[in-house]
């Protein structure tokens, strides 16, 4: 049987026999449309029902002086943006704090996650216990308890200072010093690397052992194996983690909210925290919405950058890539 006949036999429900090549292409395309939309239907419906309207509403509010408590917002046009960019020193502090955080915490977190995942990608005894231990910090999340815990550890009498004292360094007020406060949050983020680590681990597990064995036979050393097998085969997962960690890095909120509250000197006043304060503490939700949409544009830009770069370094096993 010819391929065409086979296909025709396989899809009897599709408008009779397929005759001409053009018609087959169009038919194939149409069929995929229906299937595609059916599969993403759950997301699409929920998007329209629950997400799109609030998003559009917040876009509208960004150009108003909505203060939550009054029922009717008033249009103010670009006033919010003007205030934000030209009249608000705290805004730029929040931008600086957020960028600093993203530039440092995201790579560190990913590096640790990958390193530990590789360390745990073994069948030695007890590795499941270690996995649990390394994942444990992430489980604590941004709860009330973690705030107390973290302030305690970085406090003047806390563990960190106790360790530095052993090395003869004078105690530092980590949380009170404007230069070091943000590092307590960076360390917190890195401490909670369990999630990207798990994803890396799952990805590592998908690399067949045969590859490594074959490479070993061919005489490849550890570095070779890492750069020529592990990294490329892991690249879809690295890509995913990079995108997700970058996005969530820009949106960082809870940890700063519970641990530092933005202090001192606004060095930990992350963008989302500042916009929350403006929106709910100061009843300036219009301004906060404007801030939110500016953030979306910036994050979308960086995400698009990563996506564009992915065709250079991300290798999918499926032949017809993205």
């Amino acid at each position: 049987m010819t391929v065409r006949a086979k296909l025709a036999a396989a899809t009897p429900g599709l408008r009779g026999a397929i005759s001409r090549p053009g018609e087959r292409r169009r038919a194939a395309y149409r069929r995929h449309n229906l299937a595609g939309y059916t599969f993403i239907a759950p997301w699409l419906i929920c998007f329209f029902a629950f997400t799109l309207i609030p998003m559009v509403a917040s876009l509208y509010l960004a150009f108003t002086d909505y203060d939550i408590l009054s029922a009717t917002p008033h249009w103010v046009g670009l006033r919010n943006l003007q205030r934000m960019f030209f009249e608000d020193p705290r805004y730029w502090r929040s931008v600086r704090a957020t960028f600093y955080y993203v530039m440092i915490a995201v790579p560190m977190r990913l590096a640790f996650a990958l390193g530990v995942a590789m360390l745990l990608n073994t069948y030695r005894r007890g590795v499941s216990v270690y996995r649990a231990i390394y994942y444990a910090p992430s489980v604590v999340g941004g709860s009330v308890a973690v705030a107390v815990m973290w302030r305690q550890i970085f406090g003047t009498d806390g563990l960190i200072n106790a360790v530095t004292r052993l090395f003869g360094i004078a105690p530092v007020t980590w949380l009170g010093n404007p230069r070091t406060a943000i590092w307590t949050l960076i360390v917190l983020a890195v401490w909670q690397f369990g999630s990207p680590m798990l994803i890396f681990l799952t990805g590592l597990r998908q690399i067949p052992q045969e590859m490594y064995e074959a490479a070993a036979i061919d005489g490849a050393d550890a570095a070779d194996r890492f750069f020529r097998i592990t990294l490329p085969l892991l690249s879809p997962v690295i890509f995913f983690n990079l995108v997700m960690q970058t996005i969530s890095g820009f949106m960082v909120f809870t940890q700063a909210f519970v641990v530092t509250g933005g202090a001192p000197l606004d060095t930990t006043l992350f963008y989302s925290l500042y916009l929350y304060q403006r929106g709910f503490d100061n009843f300036q939700m219009g301004y906060a919405s404007a801030m939110a949409w500016v953030l979306l544009v910036v994050v979308a830009f960086f995400t698009a950058l990563v996506f564009k770069s992915s065709s250079y370094w991300v290798f999918y096993e499926a032949k017809e890539g993205a």
Binding site: L69, P178, A263, F280
Partner: protein, 465 residues
């Protein structure tokens, strides 16, 4: 079935179920209030004697919602009082909600936006201005006049805290005043005499330095940067920090504030108070129990009077604490005033304001209820209730009661509620642009005060009508 129909069926089923669940309770607009019954009730109440609950039993069932913030202790007590009230008023059913302080205003604002505020709302002095200006709170003067809320045992000073623009919008739940808590043992050990109630800032500086010299601990804990202290400097001079219509800073002379900042820098340099860095690191946002005086690291502390209970509990019952009023400016008067720790308000959208008012009356005047509450929110405003509770008080609570009673004798009338924009000034100007830069040496005190004036005026100017 043809395999290609599968996704179609799946999709359609999902879509249908979603549509059904979304449409199930049909989009109903909020039911309109019933003006007839609401208007009828206050007039019938006027004919009745004051605290007579039996009249209400003849009416139809009523449902109220109430919300407050607090910790486990307060939740437990308040729920018991609610149950007690419902026992005495079988036709009134109260459903309660409570959250943490940190989340309270987020939740309340969201409910306000959705027009779903509960009937009875716990309020705070810092927010009643904002809520009243948007007509979200019901004026209560009529209920007080008609006796639904009985205020016979309450002094006007205690009620005035709940007035905005002359209208009573909130009922005081417990009186509070600021205080300095002294660790008596530390003072004795250092050989420093305990300050008199009319002590000045210079006295405070001297005491802190002496204690630090003799004992090596901090003379004073964190709290001197607090925005309330800024206010107290000017209150002591008979001025208020904002002007009468809340459109600008109310004082013309920055010197008191500049001197205060200089004093703090001196104390910090000498090591006599908690440095700002440590203040932020170790004590910011931390509860009362974590303050240095509890651990004995400081000999003085700034608190509100109702916090003494928690302090004493955390430090241990065997400690000796004394509460004294705020330090004054040279030649000034007492900066203390009686402040309601929190309030009950009624939402303007409430459909049963009279029953809500009855609950507030019960909360304020019922001795039984207050025996459950045990002054957890502050000193009760009804003198009858205070008398009834006196014999039952623990050591720290008795100290609180005595202190408030003492301070009331010389206290000022409560300053007006902070104008809209006050929160903005505190969060966006005072701490990040004034206090921190001065503390970390980026601005001189004079510069800091200038920034405060300029920025605060800019924010307050928006209140000009």
């Amino acid at each position: 079935m043809n395999r290609n129909r599968w996704p179609i069926v799946l999709g359609v089923v999902l879509a249908l179920s979603l549509a059904l669940s979304a449409c199930a309770p049909a989009a109903t607009p909020t039911p309109q209030p019933k003006p007839a019954t609401a208007a009828a009730q206050p007039t019938s109440a006027q004919a009745q004697p004051t605290t007579a609950p039996t009249a209400a039993q003849a009416q139809q069932p009523v449902e109220l919602r109430i919300v407050w913030w607090g910790s486990q202790d307060r939740h437990d007590r308040t729920i018991k009082v609610i149950n007690l009230f419902m026992q005495q008023h079988p036709n009134i059913k109260i459903t309660y909600e409570f959250v943490a302080w940190a989340d309270y205003w987020t939740k309340l604002a969201t409910q306000a936006a959705g027009e779903g505020l509960p009937d009875i709302i716990q309020q705070d002095y810092a927010y009643i201005g904002e809520y009243t200006n948007r007509n979200l709170l019901l004026p209560l003067d009529d209920y007080v006049k008609s006796g639904v809320i009985n205020t016979a045992d309450v002094t006007p000073a205690e009620l005035d805290g709940g007035r905005v623009n002359g209208k009573l919008v909130a009922i005081n739940l417990g009186s509070n005043s600021q205080c300095w808590v002294l660790d008596v043992d530390a003072f004795q050990k250092a050989g420093v005499p305990l300050p008199a109630p009319d002590w000045t800032w210079a006295d405070m500086e001297k005491a802190a330095m002496q204690i630090h010299d003799k004992l090596g601990i901090w003379g004073m804990g964190p709290g001197l940067w607090d925005e309330q202290i800024w206010a107290s400097l000017y209150l002591s001079l008979g001025q208020w920090r904002y002007n009468a219509d809340g459109t600008a800073i109310g004082y013309t002379d920055d010197t008191p504030y500049v001197q205060h900042l200089e004093r703090m820098l001196r104390l910090e340099k000498a090591g006599a108070i908690v440095p700002r860095a440590e203040d932020v690191a170790n004590y910011y946002g931390k509860s009362v129990e974590a303050q240095p005086i509890v651990e004995g690291k400081a000999a003085m502390a700034y608190f509100w009077s109702n916090q003494i209970v928690a302090v004493w509990k955390a430090a241990g019952e065997n400690r000796n604490f004394k509460m004294v009023p705020l330090p004054r400016m040279e030649g000034g008067k007492s900066a203390n005033y009686i402040k309601p720790s929190q309030f009950w308000s009624i939402a303007a959208t409430s459909k049963h304001p009279k029953e809500a008012a009855m609950f507030i009356d019960f909360f304020t005047n019922s001795v039984e209820a207050n025996e459950i509450l045990m002054a957890e929110r502050g000193v009760p405003i009804s003198s009858k209730v205070r008398e009834a509770l006196k014999p039952k008080l623990g050591k720290s609570q008795a100290a609180m009661f005595d202190y408030v009673a003492e301070v009331s004798k010389t206290a000022q009338p409560i300053p007006p509620a902070d104008p809209p924009g006050h929160n903005d000034i505190v969060k966006n100007v005072l701490y990040p642009q004034v206090a921190d830069p001065v503390a970390f040496g980026q601005l001189t005190p004079a510069q800091g005060a200038a920034v405060l004036r300029k920025e605060a005026n800019a924010i307050l100017a928006k209140n000009k009508k």
